[in-house]
Symmetry: C2
Subunit: 415 residues, 2 copies
């Protein structure tokens, strides 16, 4: 006997935009790359063995020992703001404490700025290949995306930006990663920096400058970021995640003073804006003077890892592969020759060779622009011997998948 | 000579909803209440001298000493989830690890749930007098508010909820603070809890249950929260802010398993979702078994402070004042007799008597419902002698303002 009357149970109704939610590429990679034995070039992870654990523990003790208000609801910790003003001078940026807004990392900084600037259904301008975490955070706004291309050697196509603005488009903002671009690993050329900033102020379109990697440089100082050239139209986003430790969740934005109040209301509504414990700990770490040596150590070690990966790619990857040696950031962007599918390669690489990366297509903002033959490889997380081993494995996977594709090509005419 | 041609400089255009942004009442109070010499009953601050600083420092050391990945990008810390499952049993809630989602405090928990459920311009149901941080977080959605009243002794008017649902309204959710209501300090009666949960499941409208104060109880165990009665329609929000320390920013939500994935995408887009350092620290603190004693200490000390405030109000406040002794939470809600204006009183109280509170009107969600004669007084932050002194000062300020009002009343007929 079957029940004729099926009970109709109501279902929780979610906001419409959530229909578009898929498990993010980042989450998929976290899952796959954390399997034991897998060498992972997938995520932008810092080298855990370089975390300044002892200095950080000292900082915690000094904070807890000096003031129990470190654990209390407290306004953003002002001494850290003035330390950030000092730090920004290393990037050639001169700003004031009153322009520094503390955040729970760069991702939250971008989130607050986007909520400040973007209407639902509003327009924004960004590159076709771009950090998926940024795409994810604008998704609930169902934005109208103006996309421009990126040159692998000089960065964002600023002429395309100009053409869009000249044609009358007025996006709420332009999103730019000036150095250590994620995923393309390029630094924007000096000429393009100047032109982009001039366009922003001429057309009255602010730039959200994501400088999460700007304090990592491997071939001498980088060009100053956009914020060094304009304080009215460039809203700068910085972070301690890549130079100190990600799990602290401390970052900052630098904005015109008049935006501090609306930002603080948005931040308070998001999370009460009272993460003073981690802010005080970072401040104590900086006050103890550890950062310059730590940065030198990171530069030296990450430079070595970049060289190791470059040499291994030269030795093992097929002829016709292309990549640049990045001046900043933590990624190599590799284009493979021929008709290889990076998604297929990833499955093979993880299952047969125990090595992971992110296929280029994961960074595409446009559905009609393919990136089948490109890979993003991280070089900061693995130690040099692992990098060599991982690239060797990956080259083997490429050879396998290529052979398989050839066999298949040969079979097709027979059928 | 004047310049005839004024240069027209473009201005940064902000999202429309930001026009409504005002400096929040909470921020104003933080500023006024932090002036030296002011006794503040304004904010819901825990007693800083009760923070378990030493135990927390031990927890940090054990975390940093055992695993450098504590500072790395890491998925939410699963052992803390199972500790929260244990903790929830103290509230009579039986849930599974797979239903626990870690957040940066209760405010973020509510934020994530609201983004999950509410459309721009969507409808929601809440009380007329309610936590301003919640009003602030729904503001960018320009929501259509269905407001119900609150009984000072039994809580939210559930009959009004029923009438709205019966009339065909289907809000995206109902917001409820079951215990230690902010600002009214009431606990929802058992009968109303049952009815509210039944309404939610009958009409298919989820409840966001804010239980930030639910682990603080002064007259024996509280009734179980709504989540104990229904796991499909009640989305529970909890926090370590009031029972451990606010600056850690660790909270949790309990939701049906199928909502974990969309929530994790929203959280990742907000702040990367990798605050594992504070999560591990809280977990180490709990693992060391400190919480039960700490809770007993909080209950004992806050009960004493509540009694002190009650006695001081009885002794010093004018006849005709009304308040309840709350079973939970950290506030007393006081209604004054006569035509006194609490906003005017606050100015006088801060400037002349150096004592601060929040006027009832700050919690109003509706513009047409006045709360001129009510005050919210916090009793958790100040030590008992300060509470006595503060209430004495406040009573003096009330007498002054009342006298002044009387003089003014007498003057009016003369003019």
């Amino acid at each position: 006997m079957t029940t004729l009357l099926e009970e109709v149970r109501p279902e929780v109704v979610l906001a419409n935009w959530t229909n578009a939610i898929k498990r993010s590429a980042l989450q998929e990679m976290l899952a796959a790359a954390s399997r034991p034995g897998v060498i992972s070039f997938a995520l932008g992870l810092p080298a855990p063995e370089l975390f300044p654990v002892n200095e950080f523990e000292q900082a915690v003790s000094s904070v807890l020992g000096s003031d129990p208000r470190a654990l209390q609801y407290q306004p953003p910790f002002t001494p850290l703001k003035s330390q950030i003003v000092e730090l920004m001078r290393r990037r050639g940026v001169y700003c004031r404490e009153e322009q520094v807004f503390l955040t729970a990392g760069a991702q939250q900084g971008m989130n607050l700025l986007v909520r400040l600037l973007l209407e639902p259904g509003g327009q924004l301008l960004m590159e076709e290949m771009i950090y998926p975490g940024f795409q994810q955070l604008v998704e609930p706004f169902a934005p109208d995306l103006l996309l421009v291309s990126t040159d692998p050697e000089t960065g964002m196509n600023v002429d395309e930006v100009e053409a869009l603005l000249k044609s009358g488009r007025r996006p709420s903002f332009i999103y730019a990663i000036t150095d250590g671009h994620n995923p393309l690993s390029v630094s924007l050329s000096r000429r393009k920096r100047e032109k982009l900033v001039a366009l922003a102020s001429t057309y009255g379109v602010p730039i959200i400058e994501d400088d999460a990697y700007g304090f990592l440089s491997y071939d001498g100082p980088l060009d100053p970021p956009l914020r060094a050239m304009d304080e009215d139209w460039v809203f700068y986003v910085g972070s301690f995640s890549k130079i100190l430790a990600p799990a602290l969740r401390v970052g900052w934005i630098i904005v015109p003073e008049k935006l501090m109040r609306p930002l603080s209301v948005i931040k308070e509504a998001s999370d009460i804006d009272t993460a003073t414990f981690s802010q005080r700990t970072v401040s104590a770490y900086l006050a103890a003077g550890h950062l310059p040596n730590h940065l030198s150590r990171l530069h030296k070690e990450y430079r070595l890892r970049r060289e190791t990966m470059h040499a291994a790619l030269l030795e093992h990857f097929p002829a016709g592969s292309h990549w640049q040696k990045p001046k900043s950031g933590v990624f190599m962007w590799v284009e493979l020759p021929g008709g290889l599918d990076a998604g297929e390669l990833l499955q093979h690489a993880i299952n047969k060779e125990q090595v992971a990366f992110v296929p280029g297509g994961a960074f595409r903002a446009s559905t009609h622009w393919s990136q089948r033959q490109s890979l993003r490889l991280n070089f900061s997380h693995c130690a040099p011997p692992q990098i060599e081993e991982g690239v060797t494995r990956l080259a083997r996977a490429i050879a396998d998948v290529t052979d398989h594709a050839k066999c298949y090509d040969q079979m097709v005419p027979i059928n």
